[in-house]
Symmetry: C2
C-alpha cells in the first residue's frame, strides 16, 4: 500500500466550507488511489493573528512558552473540524495533536526542532483504513511542554512525518499551483516547473520564493522524501521536488530568483591587513544584523574596498556602525545604497556547463544593466543591480536562458 502525506495550509482550511472541501478531496483521493493518507493541517487563517493580538494585551513581550500553549490551539481546532467533516462523508478518521503523536522536540519554544516522531499509533490507524489528521506546527518536549516549530512549521511537520513513516510522497497543498521559473507578477511568461531538485528549491526559497520554508526542503532532501507542491483549489500535478536525475541535467537553468529587500554598504580604502574583515563584521553581527553577500577587492595602493549586503530594514543601523569603525580602522569613507536588488539564476545544470556566467553578464550588458556586485555558488549566480532594473533583468534572463517556453 502506498502512503501519501498531505499538508493543507491556513488559507486552504480558512473557513468551514474550505475544510469541507478538503475532506471531500481526501475521500475522493482515497477512493481513486487507495493510498493510505496522513493529513497535516495548519490553523484556520486569521486565528494566529487573533490569538497574537490577545497575547499582546496580556504581556508586553508574551512569553514564548505560553505563546506555544496559546497558538497550538489553532491547529487543534482544525484537526477536530476536519475529522468531523470526514466522518460526515462516511470516512473514519483519527485526530492527533503534536503531543498526542508524539512529535518530540527540543525546548526552544517558538522555533523548536523535531528530535523524534513516534509512529506506532498512526500506523495502526492507517492499517485500519482510517485517515490520520495531525496538527501541524506543534510538538512536545520530552518533559511534556507544548512547543511550536516556528514559521512554516506545518510544512516541516508534514515532511518529518513523511520521513518517519517512509511515505511515498509528501504533498504540500497551497494557494499556488507549483514552483515557477520566476515570479509571474514580474515575468508573465513564467512557466510552472514539473520538477526541480532539492538544492535548486533551497536556492529559490532562500532567495524569496515564499512557497516552502527552507527547513522543510532541507528535511525532505536529507531524508529523500519526494515533495510535491500543488494547489488546493485548482486541479493539476504541481511541481515535484526531488533528487537530480538525467532528464534534469538538460536544463541549464531552472529559474530566476530575486530579492527586493537588500541594501548594500561599502567601507572604502581600508588598510589591507590581517583581521580587517573580522574587525568590520564583528560589530555588525553583535548587533544581530544578518549579512548576505560579501565582496572584497584589493586595490593597488594596498587598501581594500569591503562591500556587503544586509536586509533593507537594517540599512540605517549598519551605516551608523560603519561610520564608527571607519575612523578606528583608518578607512577612507563609508558608502551605501538601499535602492538595489539581487537577481539570481539557479540551476543544477550550470555545474557541468561553462559559460553560464558570461551568458548572464552579456545578456544584462546588452540591455544596459550595470552589475554592482557578483556572487556565485555551485548552482547559483547572483548579481546586485539598481532597483529600477529588476523587472528588465528578470525578463532578460528568463528569455536568455530559454525559460519562457514556446
Amino acid at each position: 500500500m502506498s502512503l501519501h502525506v498531505h499538508k493543507y495550509g491556513g488559507t486552504s482550511v480558512g473557513t468551514a466550507e474550505k475544510i469541507k472541501g478538503v475532506a471531500k478531496k481526501l475521500v475522493q483521493e482515497k477512493k481513486s488511489t487507495q493510498h493510505d493518507l496522513v493529513v497535516v493541517v495548519s490553523a484556520m487563517s486569521g486565528e494566529t493573528n487573533r490569538m497574537t493580538e490577545l497575547a499582546k494585551q496580556m504581556q508586553h513581550r508574551p512569553s514564548a512558552k505560553q505563546m506555544d500553549v496559546l497558538l497550538s490551539t489553532g491547529e487543534q481546532v482544525t484537526i477536530a473540524l476536519l475529522c468531523m467533516a470526514l466522518e460526515e462523508l462516511g470516512q473514519e478518521a483519527t485526530s492527533y495533536t503534536g503531543g498526542q503523536v508524539k512529535i518530540v522536540t527540543d525546548d526552544a519554544h517558538g522555533k523548536a526542532r523535531i528530535e523524534e516522531i513516534q509512529t506506532t499509533n498512526i500506523q495502526a490507524d492507517l492499517d485500519n483504513n482510517r485517515i490520520v489528521v495531525v496538527a501541524g506546527f506543534q510538538g512536545v518536549t520530552a518533559s511534556g511542554a507544548i512547543t511550536t516549530l516556528g514559521r512554516g512549521g506545518s510544512d516541516t511537520t508534514a515532511v518529518a512525518l513523511a520521513a518517519a513513516l517512509k511515505a511515498d510522497e509528501c504533498r504540500i497543498y497551497t494557494d499556488v499551483d507549483g514552483v515557477y521559473t520566476t515570479d509571474p507578477r514580474v515575468e508573465p511568461k513564467a512557466r510552472r516547473l514539473d520538477r526541480i531538485t532539492f538544492e535548486e528549491m533551497l536556492e529559490m526559497a532562500s532567495l524569496g520564493s515564499k512557497i516552502l520554508q527552507i527547513r522543510s526542503v532541507e528535511f525532505a532532501g536529507k531524508y529523500n522524501v519526494p515533495l510535491r507542491v500543488l494547489s488546493t483549489f485548482v486541479e493539476g500535478e504541481g511541481t515535484l521536488i526531488t533528487y537530480e536525475d538525467d532528464e534534469m541535467e538538460k536544463a541549464l537553468i531552472s529559474g530566476i530568483a530575486f530579492n527586493r529587500d537588500e541594501a548594500k554598504v561599502t567601507l572604502a580604502g581600508v588598510p589591507d591587513m590581517p583581521g580587517v574583515a573580522s574587525a568590520i563584521l564583528k560589530p555588525i553581527s553583535d548587533a544581530n544584523i544578518e549579512i548576505d553577500m560579501i565582496v572584497q577587492n584589493i586595490a593597488e595602493d594596498k587598501t581594500t574596498d569591503f562591500t556587503f549586503t544586509v536586509h533593507r530594514n537594517d540599512y540605517e543601523k549598519t551605516m551608523q556602525i560603519l561610520q564608527n569603525i571607519c575612523a578606528e580602522l583608518g578607512a577612507k569613507n563609508v558608502d551605501g545604497d538601499n535602492k538595489i536588488v539581487k537577481v539570481s539564476i539557479v540551476g543544477v545544470g550550470m555545474r557541468s556547463h561553462a559559460g553560464i556566467a558570461s551568458q548572464m553578464f552579456t545578456a544584462l550588458a546588452d540591455e544596459g544593466i550595470n552589475i554592482r556586485m557578483i556572487s556565485t555558488s555551485e548552482i547559483k549566480i547572483s548579481v546586485v543591480v539598481d532597483e529600477k532594473y529588476l523587472e528588465l533583468a528578470v525578463r532578460t534572463l528568463h528569455e536568455s536562458f530559454g525559460l519562457s517556453g514556446e
Copy 2:
C-alpha cells in the same frame, strides 16, 4: 503553607481585561495571604458557542470524541493568557492542560468522569512559589485521548484538584456573591448565607439553584473539601459550603428552593395490584423521560391514583404514553397539569425538630395556597402548587421560617 484552589468561570475570564483583573486579584491574594494558589479556568465566554457552531457546519451530529478535541482548546487559550498576565505582574506561573496534569478520566467523551489526578509536577511548581494555572473541564484517557467532563466540568476539576492536593479551601468565583436563602428576584428580602452544608447545597442545587453543579458538590462532600462560592467582581466572603457543625443546627431551615419547569400527570383509578407502578413507569423511562416526585394513594375501592412530575418539556409526550397505558391497565382516566411549580424548604435543622412540616402547610394554608402534592426527604419538604402561587408561596415560607433577617 496553606493551599487554596480558585476557579474562575467563563464570564470571569470573558475578555482580555477581565483576565488581567483575575491576574491582579491572584497576585494580591498571594501577597496578602501567602497561600499557595492553584487556579482552574474555563473557556472565555462565547468561545464554546462559537466552536459548537463551527462543528455543526461540519457534521450533522458532531462526534463526541472530536467535540472534546475541539472544545478543550477553549480553556487552553485561557491558561496561556492568564499565565502571561501573571508574568507581566512579575508572578511566575505554570500552565497545564488537563492532559498535561494528568487528569485521567474514563472514555465517556463529553461527560467523562475523573479517575485519577497526578499531583507531583503541580506540587513541585507550588514549592517553587509559582502560581499553577490549570485548564478546567478537560482530562485525558489512559490511552491519551482528550476528554471533557460535561456541563459545569470546571467546578469539578477545581474540587477534584483540591481533593487530590489536600487543599485547605476550594473557591468558586462566579457572577453571584454567594448562596442565598432563595432567589432574590422572587423574594427581595433573600439573604446571603455565610455557611451551608453539602447536603443542603445538593438539595438547593438540584432544585434549581444554578450556582454550582451537583457533581462538584457531591465530590467536595465526599472528599471533605471546604467549598466557597464568591463573586469575581464584588468583594465579600461569599458562602462556605462545609460539613454540619453545632452552629448550623440552630437554623431550622437554610433556604427556599423552587422549580418552575415541572408538570404533573395522574393516572387515576388504576386497579391496585403488584407490579402496577413498574408497568406505568417503565415506558416513561424507556422514552428517556426523567421523573421527579412520585405519589401514590390507595382509594377504598381497591384502585389507586398514581401521580408523578416530569420536566415541562416532556409533558405532552408523557400524557400520550399514559393514554396508551390507561387502556391496557384498565385505569379510569389520565389527568395532567403543566401549570404547576415545586417549592421546597431545605435545612439540616429539620432532622431534629418536629413540626416543621405542619408549620409549612399551615403557613401556606393561611395564604389560601392549595397544596397539590407533597414529598419529603430527611432535610427537605417539597410541595407542588399552582404556578400562580409561586411568588406568594416562596415569600410566605421565607418569612415564616425567619429567613428574612431582622
